[in-house]
Amino acid sequence: MITLDGKRFLVAGASSGIGAATALLLNRLGACVIAVARRADALEAVRSASAQPENFLIEPFDLTAQIAPLNAWLKAIVARTGLLDGMVHCAGVCAMVPLALVDDSHLTHTLSTNVLSAVRLAKAVLDRRHNTGKGASLVFIASTAAQHENAGLAAYAASKGAIVSLVRSLACECAPRGIRVNALSPGLIPTPQTEKLFGESLAARAALYPLGVGTPEDIAQTAAFLLSPAARWITGQNITVDGGKGLL
């Protein structure tokens, strides 16, 4: 059983789906969680389900829009709560848009939310004054869409491929400081976002998974492992969690 007692993690995109499940699990495992998303009411709803609400701090913030104040914002959080042991970046958007309909607005929105916000947040968290240094761990949620065929997901797949590449570079940069950086690529996970994306075809897609469909909790468990000292020799990896679909 992993324990994260005394650890402190920031979870971005914690208001729903994988982000919410990750924030709740880390909190249940003993960690203090700084839950970040745009909507305070949604974060509040997640906190109401937490095992240790006093250790579940909500910080409404828009990582795609509040760019200039990001570093100062995190500095203030750290001053209030203490140095971070790591973070999980779950913030993301996904829309099925055939290439013929892809425009700059769609590209910018997807890349800004899925990639640029991840880089900006990593930069702030990796500031030496904001994290505990050796033993700290960063996890980015990528997607199997970066590895496998998925028609109509050009911008999304490209953004998740960028996350995998980002992780490799950051892992090299951070290894001398003893900080680990990994990506986690979920297969299809029923969340409000994927249900909206796939609609009625979700059930048919789920049938393609040898172990059946996954849950946000399955992804959260792997994230918790990567954040824990048990994963101390793992960095720069993209861990696929897809119920065996990649085998087919």
């Binding site: 500031d127 030496r128 004054r129």
Partner: protein
């Protein structure tokens, strides 16, 4: 401005401005403040600090300091020259900061 300079501006470590003559207008205190920001440390660093005693003084930190020098002073010392520095004061001297 090269990418090193842009990185520093983007990180909020430096303000973008026209390069000046090496060292012109920057005091030793201002240099120390920028040097600490570049290394992301809050603790005190003096001109006498021996660089090798700073955990933060690694190859990436040297690139950051070079970017800082480029942005603020219009001077881009080689990484070899930075590596040859023994104390913080050696870096200041390399960048033409007046004593």
């Amino acid at each position: 401005m090269t990418r090193f300079g842009l990185v520093l501006v983007d990180r909020g470590i430096c303000q973008k401005r026209e390069p000046m003559e090496a060292g012109q207008g920057m005091t030793k205190q201002e240099f120390l403040s920028l040097f600490r920001e570049a290394l992301q440390v809050d603790r005190e660093i003096s001109c006498e600090t021996v660089l090798n005693t700073l955990d933060e003084w690694d190859s990436l930190a040297k690139i950051v300091v070079r970017g800082m020098a480029e942005t603020q002073l219009g001077k881009a010392p080689s990484l070899d020259a930075l590596t040859a520095c023994v104390t913080v004061n050696d870096v200041a001297t390399l960048l033409g900061i007046p004593g």
